[in-house]
């Protein structure tokens, strides 16, 4: 209450008497209004506005173009396209369900594996690592983001897949075989390989953004906590609490990358449009189908179905982004209230 009273009349009491804040602000506003409007400023403002609108229009246009070009498939299959499980270019029956399933499962599985790891690395880099180690480590993590996805794919085929087949999958099958996730023939290629490759590709994004956000938390807060007798971990918890929404944003960016990734996934997922609970079984993602079949799609319906897949991928990405935004907003509101 005391604070409010202090500001209510726009006057701020200091040692040297009262300052009339509202009066000051009004006079500043007046001087802005009365100053000349430069034509350069005006052009600059409108130009940036136009560019901003262009970005927005591009998204709309993309969606519209995809809708128009997939009209044939939409008219023919309707909503069944989303629930049909067959993908048969010979009989011209197209269904998206296995590839939607593959896209979502591989991406979320990757997040499940990578989020704890990324956060651990980010916390270490931001809070605990000594200076001489932090720089090279951060550099290495960021370097991971620069590796082309085809290189990840090749590494997947020649290193990851044999390792999964010879070591990891037999181990999982032996000890956790009672779960349906770790059952069935072990090829090495499949959903598990795809999720692992994706998690490695997403790791640098989540790690480096989270680290930057943690570093941007004012160190006064941490120091205050330490001064009050908090342990190091308790102080880190305060930093984490303050960077929650930023970290969530980083995870969503990572998810976006995972959903859209094409080449590396195609090379290790086994490319079979089936829905299977076993992580050892091959799967298929929407981006992979499009990349695989677009060039040789000869009939119009075939092409139209592929473009409809692209449209679904586009819509899913938008939904996830909106959901992430809403989540961040609602969380921020909650924290402010507390």
């Amino acid at each position: 209450m005391y604070e409010k009273n202090r500001y209510a009349d726009g006057k701020w009491k200091t040692d040297r008497g009262e300052i009339n804040l509202i009066g000051k602000m009004k006079s500043v506003k007046k001087s802005v209004k009365s100053s000349r409007v430069y034509i350069g400023d005006l052009i600059y403002e409108k130009m940036t506005l136009i560019f901003a609108i262009i970005v927005f229009m591009m998204v709309i246009l993309m969606g519209y173009e995809m809708y128009i070009n997939s009209k044939m498939s939409i008219d023919k299959f309707g909503w069944n396209f989303l629930t049909e499980t067959t993908w048969d270019p010979v009989e011209e029956i197209y269904g998206a369900l296995p590839s939607i399933y593959g896209t979502l499962v591989s991406s979320f599985l990757a997040l499940l594996m990578v989020v704890p790891l990324s956060l651990a690395v980010a916390i270490y880099l931001a809070e605990s690592a000594p200076g001489w180690l932090e720089k090279p480590l951060s550099f290495m993590v960021e370097l991971l983001a620069g590796v082309p996805s085809i290189v990840y794919g090749l590494w997947g085929i020649f290193v990851l897949v044999p390792w999964l087949r010879e070591e990891v999958e037999p181990f999982l099958n032996e000890h956790f075989g009672f779960l349906p996730f770790f059952d069935g023939p072990m090829y090495g290629f499949g959903m598990l390989a795809a999720a692992i490759i994706l998690s490695i590709m997403v790791l640098p994004i989540i790690t480096s953004i989270s680290r930057d956000i943690m570093k941007s938390v004012p160190s006064i807060q941490k120091e205050a906590a330490l001064a009050l007798g908090a342990t190091k971990w308790e102080a880190i918890k305060i930093v984490l609490k303050n960077s929650k929404s930023g970290i969530l944003g980083a995870i969503m960016l990572g998810l976006g990358r995972a959903i859209g990734e094409t080449m590396a996934v195609t090379m290790v997922i086994g490319n079979r449009p089936i829905i299977s609970e076993s992580l050892f079984d091959p799967g298929y993602t929407m981006a992979s189908i499009i990349a695989n079949e677009f060039t040789e799609a000869t009939t119009e319906l075939y092409l139209s179905a592929l473009i409809e897949l692209a449209l679904i991928l586009f819509v899913i990405t938008i939904i996830i982004n909106i959901a992430a935004r809403l989540l961040v907003w609602s969380l921020e509101k909650q924290w402010k209230r507390n």
Partner: protein
């Protein structure tokens, strides 16, 4: 001094005028023959100055661009369908001619470190393996084809192409040809709904999966298998002989097919007649407009086609393609003679 510069400039301008207008042709389509096509275009450019740009965007894209008329010629690993030909005629006002250029073959590569000999397979067995009905390497039917070979008690892991390709078209066409069940259940196309197996992207993806997986079997282009020294199976042909794929046996297959070649040369030659014919092979085609509007371009194209089908074929083997046999070249030459410019026949020396 100034005089000299003026003279020089006059010479330069005169020189520019004297240069004959260069003829440029644009083509697009299949990726499989890209290596030999780019060699041809390069050599042809050196010899005649005609420049040919070729974009290897895939057979589907090639056919589409021919229908839309955005290229001077297209290229495809699979023939155009009747509907596509009709559409092209409606849009471009002329027929499309299919011109075979070289042959490709598909081989069945496998990973069985225990077996030293080349294994032998026949059509029905291959189809049943890819249908999932034969799933062990020591299955009776495989053993019967390979007397004296000790086959391991291993699961067969089927590998196929996941990307749409002419290779898949030829391979599934062969399977449809030799197995009624395959024709009914799966059929043939640039990509199909595979009953079982893992999908690899491109020849290198399939080869990588086969190399990595003991007990795997999959199909790749002959050229790719030869270059990478992959073992591949001998296949029983229609005459009952087990044939190893090479340039001779592939050419022999098309030679066998030349006798009953359809008039438009849209022939699939899988499971062809002939003692030495390798059964899983096919043509790749250039798609040419029968009647064109630009005289210079047409003349250049005709000149190129004649050159490619005679001298050009000699480059084929060194680039791992099978050349057309003379019997098919003869049929192609007849087709070239039928090309017209605005309805008039072309006279090219």
């Amino acid at each position: 001094m100034y005089n000299k510069i003026v003279y020089l400039m006059i010479f330069m301008i005169a020189g520019m005028i004297n240069v004959p207008a260069q003829v440029k042709l644009n083509g697009a389509g299949a990726t499989f023959p890209y290596v030999i096509y780019s060699k041809w275009f390069d050599e042809f450019h050196k010899q005649t100055g005609v420049q040919i740009n070729y974009q290897s965007i895939g057979s589907g894209g090639g056919i589409k661009q021919v229908i839309e008329g955005t290229v001077d010629f297209g290229a495809s690993d699979g023939p155009m369908s009747d509907e596509q030909l009709k559409e092209a005629k409606a849009k471009q006002g002329t027929d499309i001619i299919h011109m075979p250029t070289v042959l490709g073959a598909v081989v069945l590569s496998y990973n069985l470190p225990e077996v030293k000999e080349k294994i032998k397979l026949d059509g029905q067995t291959i189809a049943d393996i890819f249908l999932g009905k034969i799933y062990k390497w020591n299955d009776k039917r495989i053993a019967k084809l390979n007397p004296g070979v000790k086959l391991p008690n291993k699961s067969i892991i089927v590998v196929h192409r996941s990307d749409g390709s002419g290779t898949t078209f030829i391979y599934t066409h062969y399977l449809s040809n030799v197995s009624k069940e395959w024709a009914k259940k799966v059929g043939y196309n640039t990509s199909v709904n595979w009953p079982i197996g893992l999908g690899g992207k491109g020849n290198e993806g399939v080869a990588g999966m086969i190399k990595q997986t003991s007990g795997a079997i999959g199909y790749v282009e002959l050229a790719y298998a030869v270059k990478n020294k992959l073992p591949y199976a001998l296949i029983k042909n229609r005459a009952g002989n087990f044939i190893e794929a090479n340039f001779k046996t592939v050419s022999a297959a098309s030679d066998g097919a030349a006798n009953n070649m359809p008039d438009d040369l849209r022939a699939m030659i899988t499971n062809a007649d002939g003692k030495n014919s390798y059964p899983i092979s096919g043509f790749t085609w250039l798609l040419i407009y029968k009647n064109m509007k630009d005289k210079k371009k047409t003349e250049a194209l005709v000149k190129f086609l004649r050159w490619a089908l005679t001298k050009g074929e000699s480059y084929a083997e060194s680039l791992y393609y099978a050349p057309l046999p003379p019997s098919v070249v003869k049929l192609c030459m007849k087709k070239i003679d039928m090309l017209t410019v605005n309805g008039k026949p072309i006279e090219v020396k």
